[in-house]
Amino acid sequence: MISLLYALASLGAFALVAGIVLAIAQKVFHIEGDPMVDRLDTLLPQTQCGQCGYPGCKPYAIAVASGEADVNHCVPGGERTMLQIADLMGVEPKDLEEEAAAPMLAFVREDECIGCTLCIKACPVDAIIGAPKQYHTVIADHCTGCTLCIEPCPVDCIDMLMKPELIEHWSWPLPDTKRAQLGHERREQHAGHS
């Protein structure tokens, strides 16, 4: 009987200590916000284009984290982003509904620009500079190609141009051998079914 009491007392004391430690740890290592949302947000390409039906990348991340949105709505992220999100959420990957277009850049035809600042207000990443009644221009290095500036422009002076290919950013393709192609295909199939 005594040994039973000992066991109960020692286990109880252990549970108490563990409880105190956990309570302190929760206070000390407390994280503001939803860590899942932040992790999803880092996977997204941050174009803020709204093609997913949400007003930006963060809102989409919140929607995915809460289970409200599917994992396959990010168009510019393509298959890689979809697979990463599915992996993180622990759900089955889904086919993309839309094929991602080639990366584009917005370009303001300056002699037609009337300086209305509407595109500046529309740009989600502050990539357009200019002032009222002054020409506006797009900072090419900052433009995500989201096309949100096209619609508000009253004189239609914004074009979407192909992103120029830089020799520094060129990279070697996969070797042109059968085994290379086969290995690559197998990997993609595997990724598609996991």
């Binding site: 941050q46 990443v125 502050d126 060129w170 990279s171 393709p173 070797p175 990997r187």
Partner: protein, 524 residues
């Protein structure tokens, strides 16, 4: 000798230091006995705006401008960059994109200079004959202004290495005359014919970095060059602490980190530079160019190019002005029909295979090779399965595991490949060379490196975009709050007088009652 036996022997002190791995390809030094010939001026020279590792230059001249030989025609746009100079006197005829020696087949903006035949030299840079009493920083600026970049093929801007850093004092200057690539003989001939100038250049290097000792490293398939350098060295009284070292021939001994280990027994850590272990390594061609820049005040406008290959009738070593068309060089050596011929820029182990010869000679052009299809053989067209023979691991001078890395790159497991030190690979090609299954290992590594770089670039862009987007959201919030605050203020000032007066009378009363409460409490 297998790598493990060599390592063991080194531990026991039975062997001199020597890098691990490596291969012994047939050297095919066809042009070793051909003296350096001067190549005629081209009617038009094409100068790409980037001939070095680093940032691209921007043109300083406009179409129609007259230029002199050695005149700066494009300036650096950043620290890791060196300017471009006119290779001869003439007129700028156009500035547009032109194909360069790049595996992508893409071009770069280039300046086209039509030669006037006079070859007038720009004399604006004065010679520094008394370099021994000159400030090293002044000499360093000279190296930068003259457009010097590593002429061994890597074209890293030379001036960056020529620095005296108190934290990392340079003890030894290594002169790299190894030239371990098959076919190439340009450094060999340069050492034979310009030994004194190279030594003077080495003395300038040692003065610039404050080094006490020096080593001239030459492989034993170039005994005559070693003798010529030794002879020139004996004739000088001021270079007692410099020695010529003849090393057994093995590829890739000329690679900077491998050479330094062989000579000093010290390893350059991954991600660090030779400077961090007190060594400066320079190619002999670059050293000669430094001599010309300092002592003669001449910018880098020409280099020695080995034109060779089994499909070329007359192999040669040519002194070529930068911007000369490669097609005319091959034609000069008797090759005009390129059907069934592969063109290689650089050496056969590390060089780029190119589709056509319509690109200009640049600072990195160590060699131009024309190879017959039979010579290139079926290599790397029929890839067989890996049989785990381990030859690639034994041949790797960095001690990587090439077959594993290739598997990871093939199946897009780039992060895993990076954790197996993919980025330490120097792409020497020793693994591909020994592979009995013809696996294009280096090609897989280049693919993997490129994809990883792309992913990192995209991630960095996404992070920057997120920051800008968040800053914008915060700004909009702030502006909204400010507007709301202003609105309430305006509403208050325009509010009816009675309300205002009431508010005023209310306030002191509240304060009084508060004070009363406090005094009450203190009494209690």
């Amino acid at each position: 000798m297998p790598a493990i036996v060599r390592k063991l022997a080194q531990r026991l002190g039975m062997l001199q230091h020597s890098f691990v791995g490596g291969v012994h390809p047939n050297m095919h030094k066809l042009s070793a006995d051909c003296g350096i010939e001067d190549c005629d001026l081209s009617p038009v020279h094409v100068l790409p705006m980037k001939q070095h590792i680093g940032e691209i230059c921007s043109p300083l001249v406009a179409v129609g401008d007259q230029v002199l030989r050695g005149q700066k025609i494009a300036k650096s746009e950043g620290y890791l960059s060196v300017p471009v100079h006119a290779p001869t006197s003439g007129r700028v005829v156009k500035i547009e994109e032109h194909a360069i020696a790049h595996p992508s087949g893409m071009g770069l903006p280039s300046i086209f200079i039509e030669s006037d035949g006079d070859d007038t030299i720009d004399e604006s840079l004065s010679p520094i004959s008394d370099w021994a009493n000159s400030d090293p920083t002044q000499l360093r600026e000279r190296a930068r202004m003259c457009g010097l970049a590593g002429l061994g093929g890597a074209v890293f801007p030379t001036f960056i290495k020529l620095v005296q850093d108190k934290r990392f004092p340079i003890e030894t200057v290594v002169l790299n005359g190894i030239e371990c690539e098959p076919f190439l003989t340009n450094d060999h001939r340069l050492m034979l014919e310009h030994a004194e100038e190279i030594l003077e250049g080495m003395a300038i290097l040692m003065h610039m970095v404050g080094a006490a000792s020096g080593i001239i490293a030459i492989e034993n398939n170039k005994q005559d060059a070693a003798e010529a350098m030794q002879l020139a060295l004996d004739a000088r009284s001021d270079m007692d602490d410099v020695a010529v070292m003849v090393l057994p021939t093995r590829y890739p001994q000329g690679s900077e980190k491998q050479l330094i280990y062989t000579l000093t027994g010290r390893e350059v850590p991954a991600g660090k530079l030779p400077m961090h272990i007190g060594v400066l390594c320079q190619n002999v061609g670059t050293t000669k160019a430094l001599f010309d820049a300092v002592v003669h005040g001449r910018a880098l406008t020409e280099r020695i190019v080995t034109v060779s290959g089994d499909a070329l009738p007359n192999p040669a070593n040519l002194r070529v002005r930068l911007g000369t068309s490669v097609r005319t060089l091959f034609a000069r050596q008797g090759l005009e029909d390129f059907s069934g011929t592969h063109i290689v820029h650089g050496g056969p182990m590390m060089g780029e295979r190119l589709k056509h010869p319509d690109f200009p000679v640049v600072k990195s052009s160590t060699g131009l090779l024309a190879m017959s299809s039979q010579f290139m053989g079926s290599a790397h067209t029929v890839e067989q399965p890996c049989i785990r023979c381990g030859h690639c691991s034994e041949a790797c001078p960095i001690s990587l595991v090439p077959n594993l890395l290739a598997d990871q790159c093939r199946s897009d497991q780039f992060d895993k490949a990076a954790s197996y030190d993919l980025f330490d690979c120097i792409e020497c090609g020793a693994c591909s060379y020994v592979c009995p299954s013809n696996i294009p290992l280096v090609h897989y590594f280049r693919y993997g490196k490129g994809q990883l770089a792309l992913q990192r670039r995209e991630q960095a862009f996404a992070d920057a975009s997120r920051q800008r987007s968040e800053a914008r959201d915060a700004r909009i919030e702030r502006e909204k709050a400010e507007k709301a605050a202003r609105r309430t203020r305006v509403r208050q000032t325009h509010a009816p007088k009675t309300d205002q007066a009431k508010a005023d009378t209310d306030k002191p009363a509240a304060v009084d009652s508060g004070a009363a409460a406090v005094s009450k409490e203190s009494k209690d």
